[in-house]
Amino acid sequence: MAKGQKTTKRTQSFWTNFVLILICVIWMVPVIGILITSFLPSEDIFKTGWWTVFPHKEDIEIDRVVLPEDVDVNGPITYGGKTAMFEEWQRGIELDDGTKATWYGNKRTRTLVISKNQWVGFTTKLTLENYKDVLTGKTITYKDAQGNTITRVGNDLSGAFLNSLAVSIPGTIIPILIAAFAAFGFAWLEFPGRNIFFTIIVALLVVPLQIALVPILQDYVSLGLNGTFLGIWLAHTGFGLPLATYLLFNYISTLPRELLESAYIDGASNLTIFTNLILPLSVPALASFAIFQFLWLWNDYLVALVFLGEKNQTVTIAVARLVGEKGQDWHLMTAAAFVSMILPLIVFLALQRYFVRGLMAGSVKG
């Protein structure tokens, strides 16, 4: 009985691991595919699949045979001791000596390709050329309105990378600052309308930002903010604030009341309490939201597309453009995709614990 239970447990554990490994492989293969492709020479990518960089068996052409003119290609064709119709030759027929004969092209070629199934090892050369291509771009020289000659790097990914940083870093810090102030206000200060305002914030949590794009773009055009970093920070601040305020409020309102009361009794002002007490105590919550917001801004496509557009394009826009313009240039697209992923992946893997905490708190209560 006890032994039987043990075996069941072991088979159970085997199947559990088997299913999980299978799922994980399915999850990883697409990424491995583009990672390998991004290091392959561009002329190789279009010839065969990326998986051929691994040792595998492949039909290698060893000879070509042209059939004599008197062979009727519409009837049965005999070669190497086998007789078959054209369609069968086209699919390929195994000959007695272990080689394979396949018809080349249409009937008129009269050509058979003789190939042998052989092992192919690691023969592919890996290269960094693709990364060089997407990162350096070309240098553009032009004259501006004042007649000055300006030389700048073309629309390459390194510029886009900097733009993404310029969007993401302030776009993360500004809403956190504003939200922390507001969360403190909502959690600890009394003022008229507190309930109504906070209820509105809870409602705004799931309002689709599409609703704001057209009106805000109109405002931006009249304010001259369209295409500027300032504009996109403000937009991301606006769209990120409800969640930031909500998360930080949940955290700050659970801080022990006595702590704040004793500080008040000591005569500290609200601002001192906020900067010297609340902010340091809220670091875990601030970090959670910061990672959340940073990843969301770095990976954002819609907001950047609407408010920045081609001017000051971010990496997501640059990669998407590459996909649109050069839909088949896999050597560029794969390398570009990796460049766009590298920073969020590092941030994510290094700070996963904080991210998960933010995710938990941010799950909209159903």
Binding site: I45, I173, V206, P215, G238, S340
Partner: protein
């Protein structure tokens, strides 16, 4: 002067200091300073604004100025307004100070989210350029035009299949991984796509689905077509075959969102009391029964939360469709139609109506959120 003297302020210095404080304390000084400080702050911030909105400096300089200006500016604004409010009589200061803290957040959320709801609502009853009232025409388009009906069908597919597979797989992985030694490894692999942009994921999967065409000697470079031909099938241009191409796009969402569902559900499963599980197992319950009769009921709340979040996500899906097919070949979705109407066809009326439709679709969630929030905080 030796150190000891330096540390104790001389009476002379003290006097001067007191005088300065006195001067500042005088009404005139107070008013002058109260005007001067905000004015200087304003000028500094305005210069930064001009610099950034002109934006023709070298990129790196712009980025640095941007970061310093943006972050410092916000901090400065708070300090100055707080300082100003504190200058007021005590009673007024007490009433106004909370607004120093919450005011900016309320103002920005008002400008960027709350007021746009009203503005979009108004715009949805006006024509493309917003010059004339046209009644319900935009809504008639939004609810009856074949283009829109296609987006509704597709969003329904995203919602039903995307959500159920993400949540189902996430739950399965969370449950299975919980009982293995390599739990962390499995979970990290499934979770990592969350760090990847939809655009990046688009490239990854576009490569999986890529199609070279039929012909002799052509080797497919897309993984899916290679598998299909290895199994003896015919390669297909997967993204161009409606309505099945929708499912190939939904796979991308599942790939991205399963990790989210898994992480949240995993922590919920870990919260199920061990005694409860043990008691059931001692009573002879199979693992399947433990899963369906104990774990599922126990994590029902979390399951609902995760499902709601992913449903909202699937309603707003945009990037994947935009990058993969641009909404062509019968894959259009509501958010992409919104984008096309507002930025390609420049029809602010129709775009606003579509945005309102999106808002209506998430309204039940909004109402529910408010209700449960109010219940949670009875003593707010």
């Amino acid at each position: 002067m030796n150190l000891a003297q330096a540390n104790t302020p001389s009476p002379n210095n003290n006097n001067l200091f007191a005088k300065i404080v006195n001067w500042f304390g005088s009404t005139l000084g107070k008013i002058l300073v109260s005007i001067l400080v905000p004015a200087v702050t304003f000028i500094v911030l305005w210069q930064g604004y001009l610099f950034l909105s002109a934006a023709n400096a070298p990129q790196i300089l712009q980025v640095i100025v941007a970061i310093v200006w943006g972050v410092g500016g916000v901090a400065l604004l708070y300090l100055v307004t707080n300082w100003l409010v504190m200058k007021l009589p005590a009673k007024a200061a007490r009433t106004l100070q909370p607004f120093v803290f919450v005011g900016p957040a309320i103002a920005i959320m008002g400008w960027f989210l709350a007021i746009p709801v009203v503005r979009s609502l108004i715009a949805s009853f006006r024509n493309a350029l917003g010059t004339e009232w046209i009644g319900l025409d935009n809504y008639i388009y939004a609810f009856t035009n074949p283009r829109m009906l296609e987006t509704f069908r597709n969003n329904a597919l995203w919602m039903v299949f995307g959500t159920s597979f993400s949540v189902g797989l996430g739950l399965l992985i969370a449950f299975l991984a919980d009982r293995t030694k390599a739990e962390v490894v499995y979970k990290s692999i499934i979770f990592t796509p969350m760090a990847i942009s939809f655009v990046g994921a688009g490239v990854i999967w576009k490569f999986v689905y890529t199609y070279k065409g039929i012909g002799v000697g052509i080797q497919e470079i897309g993984l899916l077509n290679a598998i299909v031909s290895a199994l003896g099938g015919t390669p297909q241009p997967w993204l161009n075959i409606p309505p099945w191409n929708n499912f190939f796009l939904i796979v991308i969402m599942i790939w991205l969102q399963t990790g989210y569902a898994m992480v949240i559900l995993s922590s919920a499963i870990k919260g199920v009391p061990a005694e409860l599980l043990e008691a059931a197992r001692i009573d002879g319950a199979t693992e399947t029964r433990v899963f369906f009769n104990i774990i599922i009921p126990y994590i029902k709340g979390t399951l609902l939360t995760v499902t709601t979040t992913i449903v909202i996500f699937s309603l707003k899906t945009f990037d994947i469709v935009r990058v993969m097919t641009g909404g062509n070949y019968g894959t259009n979705v509501i958010a992409n139609e919104f984008y096309l109407q507002s930025f390609t066809y420049n029809d602010a009326g129709k775009a606003s109506a579509i945005a309102i439709v999106l808002l209506l679709l998430v309204t039940p969630v909004i109402v529910n959120n408010i209700r449960s929030f109010n219940e949670q905080r009875k003593g707010f």
